[in-house]
């Protein structure tokens, strides 16, 4: 059914007890044209764009847990595109372009709120680095502007800009196109829209092996629900990408780390944008429910445990209290962890692999949510054409041999 004010009103009359299911839970068929491994926003989005833009509807999305239960439901929902390099501007800004019309396209409110992302500069290096970003962004047509401390204060009234702070605010870079979205809705919206176009969404179906033929090309996957054939397989499995690539005999330049986040008890609106501070090392926003949503860097060791250490989030909260003493007495409600796959240059790998028929979308590290529609679109394009789009062509695996890295690691520091 199409969601609208009328359908909302009609269902209100029957106490909201008669809404149909958003997408059916399917049993796998014997064979598909394309299998997407990973039922997060990226994977579901890829299935949606395969069906919508490329007319490939005989597609299955295999999810080992439940839809949106991985990193899609574990991130801090920040969307921005103020990255330094041209290649990054291409892919992240493409994603923001798609975020813009996503609610209408999916007929599902993803609550994309362009409330702005303000990155605070606390020292001369920050000032120079952020201004360089602002200029590079402007050349690439990416929205981002430099604010003086007073302009920061005007935009974000709770900010203390006094000069005697340990980490004084020396300015900030503000991207107004940036903001937050409701992460669960992104997964559910894509799932519903994709299944409407004929995509099978199969949950609780862990992939245990990738079968390759005599010519080396993929033939299908072994799963908990039996063997499923497919000539094309797209892997969009975030932290578990290395595990899946190994099933096809590939080793990847990835390491999986826990990344933690936490939310406070809900309070009245106090924080009108997303605030990031690389120097003090934390970022924060306020959800529509009123919770402060907080995060920082990964834990130090590789892990698949989906949890992290207490002293890491303690450090994160110390940073938040340093920037915003007003939050010192705020109580934290929940904390959790997700496993992020990090590449050596902190840029993703989206494209073909050395194995024919096997495509990958991985390495988004700590910042994959913002790229969801863009990455999904690019993965779908690469699968449909057996060749990358010009936007994702630079994000290939070969760059780690040829040396043409897209080194956002040095450029982005903590913020993602």
């Amino acid at each position: 059914m199409k969601y609208s004010a009328v359908s909302l009103f009609a269902n209100a009359l029957s106490g909201h007890k008669n809404w149909p299911e958003q997408f059916p839970d399917k049993a796998p068929k014997k064979e598909y044209d394309v299998i997407i491994v990973g039922g997060g926003g990226h994977g579901l989005g890829a299935a949606y764009y395969l069906a919508k833009k490329h007319g490939i509807t005989n597609v299955a999305v295999l999810e080992k847990g439940w839809i949106g239960g991985g990193n899609t439901g574990r991130n801090t929902t920040i969307i921005r595109s103020n990255y330094l390099f041209d290649e990054s501007a291409g892919i992240y800004d493409h994603a923001v372009d798609l975020w813009d019309g996503l609610s209408q396209e999916l007929n599902y409110n993803v609550m994309f709120s362009k409330r702005g992302v303000l990155m605070l500069a606390h020292n001369v290096h920050d000032v120079q680095s952020f201004q360089r970003h602002v200029h590079a962004n402007r050349l690439n047509g990416v929205d981002n502007k430099w604010l003086t401390p007073q302009q920061c204060k005007d935009f974000l009234p709770i900010l203390d800009i006094s000069e005697d702070r340990r980490y004084p605010v020396m300015g900030g870079a503000l991207q107004m196109r940036a903001g937050t979205a409701r992460h669960d809705s992104v997964a559910w919206g894509y799932a519903r829209a994709a299944s409407k176009l004929g995509v099978d969404i199969i949950q609780n179906c862990k992939v245990t092996g990738i079968k390759r033929g005599a010519d080396g090309a993929v033939e299908g996957v072994e799963t908990e629900k039996g063997y499923i054939g497919a000539k094309k397989i797209g892997v969009s499995a975030a932290g578990n990408s290395s595990v899946l690539m190994e099933m096809a005999g590939l080793r990847f330049p990835l390491e999986s780390y826990p990344l933690q986040a936490l939310v406070s008890e809900p309070v009245k609106p106090v924080l009108n944008c997303v605030v990031m501070s690389n120097a003090v090392h934390a970022y924060i926003s306020q959800s529509d429910k009123g919770e402060l949503v907080i995060g920082a860097g990964t834990d130090q060791y590789t892990s698949y445990s989906q949890r992290g250490a207490l002293h890491i989030i303690e450090h994160t909260l110390m940073s938040i209290c340093e920037i915003f003493p007003i939050f010192k007495r705020q109580r934290m409600l929940r904390s959790w962890g997700g496993i992020v796959d990090v590449t050596p240059d902190r840029s993703p790998i989206v494209g073909k692999t050395p194995v024919p028929g096997l495509y990958v979308n991985c390495g988004w590290g700590t910042g994959g949510f913002k790229a969801t529609p863009g990455a999904a679109d690019m993965l779908a394009h690469t699968i449909a054409h057996d060749a990358p789009h010009k936007i994702n062509a630079p994000f290939n695996l070969d760059r780690f041999v040829g040396g043409r890295l897209i080194d956002e690691a040095a450029a982005a520091a903590v913020a993602h």
Binding site: F252, E255, Y301, P344
Partner: protein, 102 residues
């Protein structure tokens, strides 16, 4: 927070004294070989990692203790340390890991 056994101090110490230092037993090619190496081989050394889901051999640095590097076997799903051992010792065999778990 973990308690990690440092094989040099021969003591369990809290995690905050230690720094993680990446996958263990990655041998840096010697200077002469580097000139002869292909880009693909250099990439293997430089960037490619096992990223094991399971028992992982890794380096740790007792930064705020004895300042020594050592190796450890840790299970990356449970985060449990199976064993730690001194630098220079070769990668433990499956049997040694199984024995350490007893």
């Amino acid at each position: 927070m973990f308690e990690i056994h440092c094989p040099y101090c021969d003591e369990k110490r809290p995690e905050i004294e230690f720094a993680y230092a990446g996958e263990a037993h990655i041998v840096r090619p010697n200077a002469q070989d580097q000139g002869e190496m292909s880009d693909a081989d250099w990439s293997q050394y430089m960037f490619i990692r096992d990223n094991v889901r399971g028992e992982h051999c890794e380096r740790w640095w007792h930064q705020h203790g004895c300042n020594m590097f050592f190796n450890a076997v840790r299970h990356t799903v449970t985060d449990k340390f199976v064993m730690t051992y001194k630098m220079g010792k070769s990668r433990p065999t499956a049997k040694q890991i199984a024995d350490a778990k007893k």
